[in-house]
Subunit: 256 residues, 2 copies
Amino acid sequence: MARQTERASRVEIIGLRLPEIRRGADLAALTLRAARKQGETLRSGDIVVLTQKIVSKAEGREVTLRGVRPSALARTWARRIGRDARYIELILRESSRVLRMSDRALVVETRHGFVCANAGVDHSNVAASDRVTLLPEDPDASARRFADSIRKRTGARIAVIVSDTWGRPWREGQVNVAIGTAGLRVLADWRGRRDTFGRLLTATVLAVADELAAAAGLAMGKVDQVPVVMIRGFRFRAGRDSARKLLRPAKHDLFR
Amino acid sequence: MARQTERASRVEIIGLRLPEIRRGADLAALTLRAARKQGETLRSGDIVVLTQKIVSKAEGREVTLRGVRPSALARTWARRIGRDARYIELILRESSRVLRMSDRALVVETRHGFVCANAGVDHSNVAASDRVTLLPEDPDASARRFADSIRKRTGARIAVIVSDTWGRPWREGQVNVAIGTAGLRVLADWRGRRDTFGRLLTATVLAVADELAAAAGLAMGKVDQVPVVMIRGFRFRAGRDSARKLLRPAKHDLFR
């Protein structure tokens, strides 16, 4: 009577290889082409995770250091830690608040409200050695455009996450996190639900979008040109949350 | 000549349902039985992620509040935030340092060196309402025993992660992180590697074990009794790292 085999929940994480991305690139078209080449089809309910780097490149968010005039603060600090003052200047321009200045990084609040090292200004995987990428202007909008484009071309309703790889306090190493989202609720709120023993769960709110981004990180790799990842089989709640919903307001934050 | 279809890296995350865990339970045996029931087999190269909760229960790390005598500090603080003083007392006993005391949580350094809320002392999903679980004494040893037991029974060499669901500064929601590990390198160090353009990557160290734990979190759910997750298809570097390697030494930490 009882089922002999009960299938478990199964989530698949599939990395897609894209060619080098240039300004104006159509990421949705390139993703569909990559998927086809790898024998995959995007379906409704899939989640696509894009690295910040390719979104920024496609959106022209690359800056040449040559044209940047550093402020006095940027010059002083750059001298102190032995970095390029123009790079420090760009970080400061992308920031609305500096939390910590150390010899390894500036920890800042970005104009979007994210707290991260160096405001996400990044000089890895950029073609020219005096170029850096900035975070997308509006990563939610980037995610939304991508989702809309996929829907127009294929009919599939997908969720999209723009992710970046960031450090965190207390723990070594970086993890992939969500900085832009479309089509899903970013938090799964279990407050008010009952646990296995019928007692109310009081404090459990899961950062689903960050766990999805981290899972995608497993397939991305840093040198392998896998900047797009499909996640299939994860039942998420559809919604229109901004990734900013993942940001803790400063006044509730014990570490700001 | 060129391959028409090049298969992508594909990682699978498979949740396993276990019965309620009691003290002395043989988690490896129960995991193998659950896998079989779900039509799965553990193979060398798989990673198994276990929730802290079942490890603690199996190891008898449950405490009844009734027998706990709170200290003066615990009593004072509990009164101030409206919590049970015996619960606060247990948190303090599990801590080696208190970072923040707020009305929502005590953020502490545990005896293991982890920084987390309430020292991991948890009263959800515990059978009696005056019982709580403590973190395993030595989560690495728990992971190692599990891996050894699987190897003895099946010959499969797997990696094991004991995980817990923790909050973090700056961002809302909790994510699953690694607190005990066996059989893998917990950090993937890209420093010294070259990016796609041949330039040295200077700052990229990925917290692989935390990304694996977060990915497992997608299949776990809080009320669904999926306390064990298999991850298949992720090529990790074998090793003997302790999860403590994920802990940033306090003197390098800008937020401690």
